[in-house]
């Protein structure tokens, strides 16, 4: 009785061939609904570009810096949710979690958003004031800091993500190549499959490579989040000395990644009939890390708050007034409820965890909370007039989004989804070979008076 939907019986599990036939069938004909969504998303993305151009015409002067706050917050939101998703598949593959198999591809496909992140990073860096005369993570380090290093960091992350996506997809690309009728799409897929035939050596390289790329993604992600929060938030607020904040945003990112994965799986179930792959087991299993990350996020935030609050130094007081008690209190409250209270109250209950709607709902809340939290962090930082002071004075007023800000937010998020949709036209959205491998490692056996699953742990 592994997923609550049906009791296990002695009957046979689906085979690799069943899965391949089903997934490739869906892959071959994506349907009119797919094109409808692509059109809508493309339109919204173009609106976002319009918003961006409006921002661009206002320029990058220091007095206009506050205008770029929401743009940077959107960028940070993408990094916190979409671009963080491959971390899930990398982590689960390293820990050999068996339930990961249906959902790895969805998360890896989101690695493509790393490209959009790099593109958005460039105007954000231009809007950033020079590091001369203010404190930054770069200390006295020259050589184009911070711009060059941020681009290198995010570029590396995007490249590792794409390598992970492409490498792990090779067997499925080959399957699609062999399955689809000849067309230009089939030729592209065939070219991308790099002549995969499934030799023993190829498989060995694939296993090692997927673990290595996953591990590199896991290590790079915290570092680039550290760069982002240090350059675009911490370095802009005078008197702030919050050593934990990179860890806080990393945890927020993991939380956002799980939330976005749950949301994606839910939408694919509803809109794409993928119930067979994204079953309760996946939602149930992901809800536990979601709860853990939610608690950790609050814990990290609390650790910094209590230190400032207790320290009572003038510089610290101003900073917590800005970020916690005064100007951005509302934003903090929203993310406090959606990223901590909501998951805590809902997910401690096993019946909620062991459902589709429960984790999906909480995950959606987490994603919204993450967006609001990025606004709190980055908009506040960008609205500080003079980052070179020692104590924040005067505190900037709360800044609300205007029309171009909203266009940019909607457009960039739609752009991410659009990229995901486009990738799923080339790469099957469910990993055939990983599910097949999982099926080979599972046997249903009789144990005492009922049937249980026996899972082989390969060493």
């Amino acid at each position: 009785m592994h997923n609550g939907e049906h009791e296990l019986t002695a009957g046979p599990l689906p085979t690799h061939q069943d899965v391949a036939r089903d997934v490739l069938g869906r892959f071959q004909d994506l349907g009119h609904r797919y094109w409808g969504w692509v059109t809508v998303l493309a339109f919204l993305f173009i609106l976002g570009i319009v918003g961006f151009i409006i921002r661009l015409t206002e320029g990058f002067d220091d007095e206009n810096r506050a205008n770029w706050g929401y743009f940077v917050a959107t960028l940070a939101f993408i990094v916190t949710t979409f671009t963080a998703m491959p971390v899930i598949s990398a982590g689960l593959r390293l820990t050999k979690a068996n339930w990961r198999r249906p959902l790895t591809r969805v998360t890896e496909n989101m690695a493509i958003t790393g490209l959009l992140v790099v593109l958005m990073l460039i105007p954000a860096l231009i809007a950033l004031p020079t590091i001369d005369g203010r404190f930054s993570i770069w200390f006295e380090f020259p050589l184009g800091a911070p711009g060059v290093w941020d681009v290198i960091g995010y570029g590396t992350l995007a490249l590792i993500g794409l390598a992970l996506l492409w490498g792990v997809a090779l067997p499925d690309l080959a399957a699609a190549r062999d399955h689809l009728p000849a067309s230009s799409r089939q030729r592209v897929i065939g070219w991308l499959s790099l002549g995969w035939v499934g030799g023993v050596r190829q498989w060995r390289v694939l296993y090692q490579g997927s673990l290595l790329a996953g591990a590199m993604y896991l290590l790079t992600y915290p570092l680039v989040q550290t760069l982002m929060i240090s350059d675009f938030h911490h370095g802009l607020i005078p008197g702030l000395k919050d050593a934990i904040i990179p860890a806080t945003v990393v945890v927020n990112g993991l939380q956002g990644a799980v939330g976005m994965t749950l949301l994606t799986m839910y939408l694919m179930r509803r809109l794409g009939n993928y119930e067979k792959y994204f079953s309760v087991e996946q939602f149930w299993a992901l809800s536990k890390p979601l709860l853990a990350f939610s608690l950790l996020w609050f814990y990290f935030w609390w650790a910094s708050f209590i230190t400032f609050w207790y320290g009572r130094q003038p510089g610290e007081s101003e900073v917590i007034r800005l970020l916690v008690l005064d100007e951005y209190r509302g934003a903090l409250m929203i993310s406090f409820f959606l990223n901590f209270i909501g998951p805590l109250v809902a997910l401690v209950w096993n019946p909620v965890r062991r459902s589709v709607w429960g984790p999906a709902l909480v995950g959606t809340g987490v994603v919204i909370g993450a967006l609001v939290n990025q606004v709190r962090l980055y908009v506040s930082a960008f609205s500080v007039a003079d980052p070179s002071q020692h104590v924040l004075h005067p505190r900037p007023a709360t800044q609300w989004p205007d029309a171009p800000d909203l266009l940019i937010m909607v457009g960039a998020i739609s752009g991410c989804v659009l990229l995901f949709m486009l990738v799923s036209k080339i790469i099957p959205v469910v990993s055939i070979w990983e599910i097949g491998e999982g099926l080979r490692l599972v046997k249903v056996r009789r144990y005492m008076n009922r049937y249980v699953r026996v899972i082989a742990k390969s060493h």
């Binding site: 207790y310 009572r312 130094q313 003038p314 510089g315 007081s317």
Partner: protein
């Protein structure tokens, strides 16, 4: 600049101003405090062990290079901070803020965690590592108004609270300069001024607003009740 705290519950808010221009670093205040407050003798070994007890000490800084070198003196005592970092960390309320703006140490409550000492940025708090002893001939000179502290507890400058208590007994308002702590009384150059900050005409209140006035380690936001008047060099 932080303004002084107006205390509504009591008539007194004790404060001190030390004019560094007048301070010659003679250490008379240190000796006077030693005698008044029953502080054990700081012999050579106490200094070598790093365990000397000085409720007030004179910090000496060198400024400039030879031959243009100047000695700067800074008498440091408990600053009786309004926002005292030592108070909130004590688990047993052995130190608290009283309604006259004093940071009070209750010896009997102290269990000797020494957290307050760590959290005092002025190094004004001192620990009794040994039971205090005096030579036989000095036993009879101990001040009967002041507790002899046992080993294992923290102590620090009290602004000579025994003198404050004696003068304000019965809740009476004292005249400005009616009494002074031992260090102020002993200062030969009249560098130190003590008094009631709630009385706008008191000597200390007038000096409090001096343009040379500053507080030590102001950036920590501890809001001390002691201010220093900057030394200004004649030829500078």
């Amino acid at each position: 600049m932080a303004t002084r705290t107006q205390n509504t519950r009591a008539n007194h808010k004790w404060g001190m101003v030390i004019d560094l221009d007048r301070c010659s670093g003679c250490q008379a205040c240190v000796i006077a405090c030693q005698a008044e407050n029953n502080i054990p003798l700081n012999d050579q070994s106490a200094f070598l062990d790093g365990r000397a007890i000085e409720w007030i000490r004179v910090e000496r800084y060198w400024e400039g290079d030879y031959p243009d070198i100047k000695a700067r003196f800074l008498p440091v005592l408990c600053q009786h901070c309004d926002n005292a970092p030592c108070e909130s960390v004590c688990p047993v309320y052995a130190t608290y803020h009283n309604n006259e703006g004093l940071n009070v140490q209750v010896y009997n409550r102290c269990v000797g965690t020494r957290f307050c000492g760590n959290n005092c940025p002025y190094h004004a708090r001192l620990f009794n590592y040994w039971e205090p002893v005096w030579p036989e001939e000095l036993r009879n000179q101990l001040n009967p108004d002041v507790t002899v502290r046992t080993r294992g507890i923290m102590e620090k400058c009290t602004f000579c609270i025994q003198r404050i208590r004696r003068s304000t007994r019965g809740g009476k308002q004292v005249e400005d300069q009616a009494f002074n702590p031992a260090c102020v009384q002993a200062c030969p150059t009249d560098a130190m001024t003590f008094g009631n900050l709630n009385d706008p005409d008191s000597r200390v209140s007038r000096k409090w607003e001096d343009e040379r006035a500053y507080r030590v380690l102001e950036g920590l936001g501890t809001n001390p009740s002691v201010k220093y008047l900057k030394q200004v060099d004649a030829h500078a």
